[in-house]
């Protein structure tokens, strides 16, 4: 989280637009910026299972980052269009990436129903317009944070698993009927591609879809220092459990 926000700060200061792929160790439950959480999660169970918890700067609902790939994009507002256009373009590029791996990915249409509000329901419970689905189920969940003329968008591509653990970490798991399990890469790819192969396909589709030239680089010293400062905020219970 801290690195993602450091990249946003870097772009705000004139740094290059950035695409980043990463994964989590240990597994981590990320909470939506405005979702309720304080007193709602079973902290003992979370500790016992060795899971970290962080609150994102972006909206939406909880994601368990385990057996998944996280991407993040930081771009100046306008480079890929408005924030909403950015959302559409990034999702198109990601869908193209997983299609290269044989996944029948498409963008979710507008449901016409109610809009999902920040809540204790898992992110992958239901797709919203423009998110990536496969076989009618959500495969990649994404969210944005806009600040100072920069858009940060990040999201999670499920490799395997059903996110059912997100509900089991609640103090009072809802009794409602289980929603449809999300799609995963493993449902369509056997065997799963290696991490490097997956990243290579997503990056190639990104270049092709957006018509961009990209180059691999490291965080600058300034970005690393910024991330270190931001880590204090993201690791503080006052931020994670502020509501």
């Amino acid at each position: 989280m801290a690195v993602d926000e450091a990249l946003l700060a870097s772009v705000r200061g004139g740094g290059p637009p950035t695409l980043r792929f990463y994964r989590w160790s240990p597994a981590c439950l990320s909470l939506g910026r405005n979702q309720p959480a304080r007193g709602q999660y079973d902290l003992e169970a979370i500790r016992a299972r060795g899971i970290d918890v962080v609150r994102r700067p972006t909206g939406g609902r909880a994601v368990l980052h385990d057996r998944e790939l996280t991407y993040s994009v930081a771009v100046p507002d306008g480079l890929l269009g408005s924030p909403r256009a950015t959302y559409a373009v990034v999702n198109q590029a990601l869908a193209a990436g997983v299609r290269r791996l044989g996944v029948p990915a498409e963008l979710a249409p507008r449901s016409g129903g109610r809009v999902p509000v920040p809540s204790l329901a898992p992110c992958f419970k239901e797709p919203v317009e423009g998110e990536i689905i496969a076989g009618g189920r959500k495969l990649i969940g994404s969210a944005q944070y806009r600040e100072g003329g920069v858009v940060l968008q990040h999201g999670s591509l499920l490799l395997d698993g059903d996110q059912a653990e997100v509900r089991s970490l609640l103090c009072e798991p809802p009794g409602e009927a289980e929603s449809t399990a999300p799609a995963t890469l493993a449902m369509f790819c056997d065997p799963l591609p290696s991490w490097n192969a997956l990243v290579a396909e997503l990056a190639a589709a990104w270049e092709e879809t957006l018509g961009v030239v990209s180059c691999l680089s490291q965080l600058s010293l300034e970005e690393q220092l910024c991330a270190s400062r931001l880590m204090e905020r993201y690791s503080a219970p006052a931020w994670t459990w502020h509501q």
């Binding site: 637009p17 980043r20 910026r33 405005n34 480079l79 269009g81 990056a203 490291q218």
Partner: protein
């Protein structure tokens, strides 16, 4: 996995064409649809400022254009009444379908009232941005600063109209 590795990128002319093809509606359509009342003041950050009934107090919210750009608003985080804000200080956030944006105070002043109705019905921002979807009422420190904000014509130009 080295956490510090990332791809930086720049757009090529082909990329810009890809983007244009990807956007399902034109900018001109959105601008024509946006309601910009003549009697309000505006900021570049898409907030409006409207005089309240009480002298020196102004109602602040986001414009019709901004709510249209954001899409369905699902959460609005506002400050507590009594807080003193500096000009352009963040006073809250707004979340629209998983996208969180900062809200900036257009003027320096004290928050004298917040719109509590947005707590249970944030869609008021979409349905009636200049009426029931207002956000905060500010007792402005220096009334002269209100005149320095954009008028409707300048804001219309700002959003490209």
């Amino acid at each position: 996995m080295d956490l510090s590795r990332r791809l930086t990128f720049r757009l090529t002319p082909r990329g810009l064409r890809t983007y244009c093809a990807a956007v399902p509606y034109t900018l001109a359509q959105r601008m024509l649809m946006a309601n910009v009342p003549q009697d309000l003041k505006y900021t570049k950050e898409h907030e409006y400022v409207k005089p309240a009934a009480e002298e020196g107090v102004y109602v602040v919210g986001i414009t019709d254009y901004a709510q249209g750009e954001l899409g369905d608003v699902v959460f609005v985080e506002l400050p507590e009444a009594g807080r003193h804000l500096k000009e352009m200080e963040t006073f809250g956030t707004i979340e629209a379908v998983k996208a969180v944006s900062e809200l900036f105070s257009p003027l320096a002043g004290e928050v004298v009232e917040i719109n509590g109705a947005l707590d249970s019905d944030p869609a008021l921002v979409n349905n009636d941005p200049y009426g029931e979807g207002w956000m905060i009422k500010l007792r402005v420190s220096d009334a002269a600063t209100v005149d320095r904000l954009m008028n409707a014509d300048a804001y219309q130009s700002h959003i490209g109209g």
